[in-house]
Amino acid sequence: MNTPHWKLLTLVGPDRPGIVAAVSRVLLGAGAELGEASMMRLGGLFTIMLMVGIEGDGVHLKGLLESVRNEFKLRVHVDELNAGLHRRIDPDVLITVYGADRAGIVAEVTDALARAGLSITDLRSDVAGSEDKPIYIMNIEGVAQQGLPPLEQALANLSSDIRVTLSPIELMRG
């Protein structure tokens, strides 16, 4: 794979079947390569963040997607990257957080983790439970740049209503 023109394409629009297929069909037709992606439904919207390898600039890429953008009422954003694919960083710790939903959980937890040397590589969160008693659930993966003890200490000092588990990710490569 030697296409140097990698871009990060962000698409957001009302969720409905066929968005991914329509976008990828247009990109295939234009000779683009697709790389790593994160796509998920958030709050009734469908969100796509997709690495696209294609000649030309971001304006060109947006132009190719014009008909799909209109059809699916998407908002389109392109970041042109100097980097390419394969910039993976292997996380070495997994932190799971849950509690009765309230304002400030993410800020409190991520602030404590950042101070203790965590570089987040992946964060996913959900609000579950019933409407009147929502539960906040968050999975964080990251690199413990100062090792695990500072993270354990930081988590031990969180508010008592936040449940946290921390486990090392011991990569097995064979």
Partner: protein, 172 residues
Amino acid sequence: MALRDIVLYPDNRLKTVCDPVESFNAELRDFVRDLLDTCANGPGAVGIAAPQVGFMQRICIVDATRARHPVPNHGKLILVNPEITAWEGFAMGREGCLSVPDYTGNVVRAEKIQLRAYDLDGQAVSFEMEGYEARIAQHEIDHLDGILFLDRLISRGADLFQRKPAKGKAAE
């Protein structure tokens, strides 16, 4: 030291069932020496299986002594015609593979296994393994059956289990 080239997916040899070793001879010992060297040279590798260097026989290395943090282990093992005879429990862990560069994923494996195999002299050996070492053995023996960790991936988002609490009060 003789390093063998690592076979990379999608090479079809990685999806092929390997043949049992029939002769415990000098040729086998020479090959295993290369396999050990190749494993030691692989970045962060704690095991390797013969088909990963294109040798389609049931031989693998399991070496939990190379784990980043110390784990229970039986040393550097050379397993010929290995066979898992018992499985117990489940554990999720993150795996990567020399034959699938630049990717890691979550895989559920048995927490404890019993296995029997032969050593380089053709003597029967057996081991009870747990945790990380058991994971290596399951990953490598899968290779001998043409199975990659990619065949066993589970979602990264849905893994709310099997962890120790980071706060004492969360343990109730």
